[in-house]
């Protein structure tokens, strides 16, 4: 363990020595830190958007796909008989896990938000609703519709597909947009680091000339610049990520009936995702600076 520590210290000291050949530059350093931080901050939100819309698409896709409703519109006298017939049909349908007619009280509760309390449900010709829970495999909606039409004339099957699919599509499109935004943020970070590195290389032509004269290989010169920009990218992105996560934490928490906006955030292990932003930013800065340094060095004698 002691040996390892010494080796690490020696490596760090060696790096420090090599890093010193590039003169310190206060202003561009702060700009690089700032851009990396700002980009990481935005990346946190793009990531949160992607994950939240992903969750939304999954929920709409899975939970709602597992339930369907059969609505029985019949004269009051036939209601009981038709409901019973529909339940019999449903019980013998493959793919239906459970079917249950809602009680009057449950139907009244469903209608209450629209009509207010005290609605005399039993005196109104309100259709009876049957809640259908599907198995994993699901049922064939067309077949079920035909059988219901044959045996229960007043039954209408609503499998939610009609309104569920556009929502799922919208959520998936939003997730795609979030991912595109992440890609653009990475590309913009690379572009900004390239510009900063290019400027630093141009400003340090004399340093590079001297290093070449005393026998420094291109790799040594490039590394001195690359380490500096990669560490700035990493540090800036770390700060931006922390701030972004704090901002996400500071969002009002999602309520039960909350829309997708209040659901923006990370849940459970998804909180690990933002941790990947700083290393990725460091990697982007590393690659961008290396490419810029190689280009610049190739053009010098």
């Amino acid at each position: 363990m002691k040996l390892d520590l010494n080796a690490t210290r020696a490596m760090l000291a060696g790096d420090a020595q090599a890093d010193r050949v590039v003169p310190p530059t206060g202003f561009t350093a702060r700009l690089t830190l700032f851009s990396a931080g700002a980009m990481a901050f935005l990346a946190v939100f793009a990531l949160a958007l992607s994950l939240a819309t992903g969750r939304l698409a999954d929920r709409w896709g899975n939970e709602l796909a597992r339930t369907a409703t059969v609505r029985i519109s019949a004269p009051m006298a036939q209601m009981e008989a038709q409901t019973a017939a529909a339940l019999r049909v449903l019980e013998t349908t493959t793919g239906v896990a459970r079917a249950r007619a809602l009680s009057d009280a449950e139907q009244a509760a469903l209608l209450e938000p629209w009509f207010g309390p005290g609605l005399p449900v039993d005196q109104l010709p309100i259709p009876r609703l049957i809640e259908v829970i599907e198995t994993e495999a699901g049922f064939d909606p067309e077949g079920l519709r035909l059988r219901l039409a044959a045996e229960v004339p007043g039954a209408v099957l609503d499998d939610h597909t009609r309104w569920r699919q556009p929502l799922v599509r919208a959520a998936e499109r939003l997730r795609l947009l979030g991912l595109v935004a992440l890609g653009l943020i990475a590309a913009a970070t690379a572009a900004m680091i390239t510009l900063a590195a290019q400027a630093a290389l141009a400003a340090n032509t004399q340093v590079i000339t001297v290093l070449r004269l005393v026998g420094a290989q291109d790799g040594y010169i490039a590394r001195a610049f690359v380490r500096r920009f990669a560490s700035r990218g990493l540090a800036g992105a770390a700060a931006g990520t922390v701030l972004g996560c704090l901002a996400i934490l500071g969002l009002p928490s999602a309520q039960i009936e909350g829309g997708f906006l209040t659901g923006l955030g990370f849940q459970g292990w998804h909180w690990l995702w933002p941790l990947t932003i700083p290393p990725l930013a460091g990697l982007v800065a590393f690659a961008a600076t290396l490419a810029a340094a190689r280009r610049t060095l190739e053009e010098m004698p």
């Binding site: 010193r20 003169p23 001297v210 290093l211 004269l213």
Partner: protein
């Protein structure tokens, strides 16, 4: 060590050097003279691989310059110490760090080289100025620091371009003595200068050959100047 065979070099349109042949053998001491703008610096640059000849062949330690990669050239530079007319340093590092720069870029252990470095600093008389920054140095101190940096790797060849250009006579004598001492240690020396007094002073101490660039050609000047 360094060989030029029928080398020509052209800048843009005009030919600066043509049909130049030169062989620097181990332990030799050469002066290179010629009017300003005759191509002395260009010839030195060809010798340390900074320029590629337009025609002819340049060989550094047996390797054809044209076949060398940038990293090959860097490796050759570690065996060639160069003193420029306008000595360039890393201005944010101390004199000591600048002189040790060839060691650090070639990955040598600086702690191990510490005694050598200190001895070299004393030899060029910069011990007192060890922690000064290059911009704080006088012209003569810069030249001596450049010479120290050129020889710290114990190179086989030392190329110096007007090493006495910016210094007074006394200082130029000191620099010359340092170069003669290096030659006695077996280093190959090539000094570009138009200071004939310097060449005469050297001839009293060491066997030298004088090369002259005239009308784009390299000639061996007579034994007497």
């Amino acid at each position: 060590m360094i060989e030029l065979e029928s080398v020509a070099y052209s800048y843009g349109g005009g030919e600066l050097l043509g049909d130049v042949s030169l062989s620097l053998s181990p332990g030799s001491f050469h002066f290179l003279t010629g009017p300003s703008g005759s191509g002395k610096t260009t010839l030195l640059k060809l010798c340390y691989g900074a320029l590629v000849p337009s025609a002819g062949l340049v060989r550094l330690f047996g390797q054809d310059r044209r076949a060398m990669t940038r990293d090959d050239v860097a490796m050759a530079r570690r065996r060639i110490g160069v003193v420029h007319q306008d000595c360039q340093f890393l201005d944010h590092l101390s004199v000591t760090e600048n002189i040790a720069l060839p060691l650090s870029v070639s990955g040598r252990d600086l702690l191990e080289e510490e005694p050598n470095l200190r001895e070299l600093m004393g030899w060029v008389g910069l011990k007192e100025r060890a922690h000064a920054l290059p911009p704080e140095l006088s012209g003569g101190e810069r030249q001596r620091a450049a010479l120290a940096r050129a020889v710290i790797m114990s190179p086989d060849v030392v190329l110096a371009d007007e090493p006495t250009g910016n210094v007074d006579w006394e200082m130029s004598q000191r620099l010359l003595r340092l170069l003669i001492e290096l030659n006695r240690m077996g280093k190959t020396i090539l000094i570009a200068t138009h200071d004939l007094a310097l060449i005469r002073a050297a001839k009293a101490h060491v066997q030298t050959r004088v090369l002259r660039i005239a009308a784009r050609r390299l000639q061996f000047a007579g034994a007497d100047l």
